[in-house]
Symmetry: C2
Amino acid sequence: MRILITGAAGFLGSHLSDRLLAEGHEVVGMDNFVTGSRENLTHLIKDKQFSFIRHDVSESITVSGKLDAVLHFASPASPNPKSPFGYPNLPLETLKAGSLGTFNTLDLARKFNARYLFASTSEIYGDPLEHPQIETYWGHVDPIGLRSMYDEAKRFSEATVMAYFRSKNTDTRIVRIFNTYGPRMRLDDGRVVPNLIQQALRSEPLSIYGDGLQTRSFCYVEDLVEGIYRLLISNEHQPVNIGNPLETTILDFAGIISRLTNNPAGFDYQPDNRLGNDPQRRCPDITRARSLLGWEPKIGLEEGLLRTIAYFKSKMGLA
Amino acid sequence: MRILITGAAGFLGSHLSDRLLAEGHEVVGMDNFVTGSRENLTHLIKDKQFSFIRHDVSESITVSGKLDAVLHFASPASPNPKSPFGYPNLPLETLKAGSLGTFNTLDLARKFNARYLFASTSEIYGDPLEHPQIETYWGHVDPIGLRSMYDEAKRFSEATVMAYFRSKNTDTRIVRIFNTYGPRMRLDDGRVVPNLIQQALRSEPLSIYGDGLQTRSFCYVEDLVEGIYRLLISNEHQPVNIGNPLETTILDFAGIISRLTNNPAGFDYQPDNRLGNDPQRRCPDITRARSLLGWEPKIGLEEGLLRTIAYFKSKMGLA
């Protein structure tokens, strides 16, 4: 297949590009580098099957040649208000990537009669009142909250994807991506994994916000990409959760990082000043992915963290 | 003030235009007639203070001369899947009016440093789990449901309006409009008020879907317009519910219509085949409107219905 990926210079987009190339597909990457990184593309552009278009998806998209699939992954994705790459500091960019960007990519898929896959998120469940989150759960999102530029844009995109599927017969798919970690995460986007690993590698105490008992379910990026690829080649049109159902408290998570990095500095408890409505728990029900795609995560937390720590070491000049 | 209203040929837009003209403002109406009606403009275009631009708000908007206020009311608004004017049959138009249309009107307000008012809806509360609905309630909406092209577009618009308010200092307002009725409702858009009144005026039995015990809170259009006008001239930036808190069952409502029209034909109970997730109850908490705007509805259900019936009689050639 010849496949367009928007957000190809991002953490997930670049890994997905790797996988698609490895499967023998031709990949057209697109990014505007608002949060994506040129560095994530350096190995990709050496591949003859990879080409790149620098473009903002909120502007009308033209691609020469035919496309067989369109994957819309472009969007700021970090909730951290202190990072310049956090969506709270890129509100209009985030809202446009998840509305104009969605229309533009869907129109492109329609034009080529291509299959379409939208990168949705566990954030559409908001601060969930049900655990674990199953795909039929409607979510609990504040439409005017401080995270709403992201949550509502992703919900709007899902509604739009389903409208194209239902009224235009566009061959759509929706993946709801839960917390993912691995090499090529931005060091500077303020998310918990890069923050903790960097502190640990600097032998600093690890910052724990609040009591650290809030849980996350961290999926290693290779597992995630496997699930997305299976969804892409499937014919499933309803949303599918892809994430690791193993719930870990931030405290346990920080403990494992300390151990793997031999960091003796311990924890530094901070007041919980994260962005409003930061959910206390988030955990995917992956029954649908298991039964429809035969997918489940394979890589354990320690193994995934070791690989991620190795990447961060190298990025920080410590390797 | 010189005020742009999108959706000026619609039920609410045309009444609001009347009111603004009566207050001495200059009104620029805009509509693409997808669901608006030319007939609603016939009396307006006779007014020298009124001008009209035929335009689709999902395309970039240019207006000559300065604007002091921008009111974004354009959108299909009937949930009826059987009507060609229902949003289930206009999914992309609805999604675009509530995304591209919102960006375009906000950009226009920003350009002129004008105040902005967005017509949101009680539908952002979805099928609510709390009664009555207060503005701080986050709502209960299925992002991929059969009504999501409308509900999610309105929620997305609210998120966008708040993003412009917070990050661009745009002088925004959000009104959440509950069920409204009155003259100039479309006879053919399949909503309950025109349906029941037309049946009554034809001396037919009134169709009741399900047991008729689902409630609605019907606000007469003149009351609604008063509330919107007060919000427009206020400096309130948080969403404000405007609607009538008097909850009435559909059965009671139909009974009043039968009596006022002297229709002896009774009721015709039908299976509840309305669009998925049609809420069982919807009722505004108007504490915020009362305290911030000194507003509450004044026109009783009988008086409002008598005026509405008179309008329908005339439209049906029965007056």
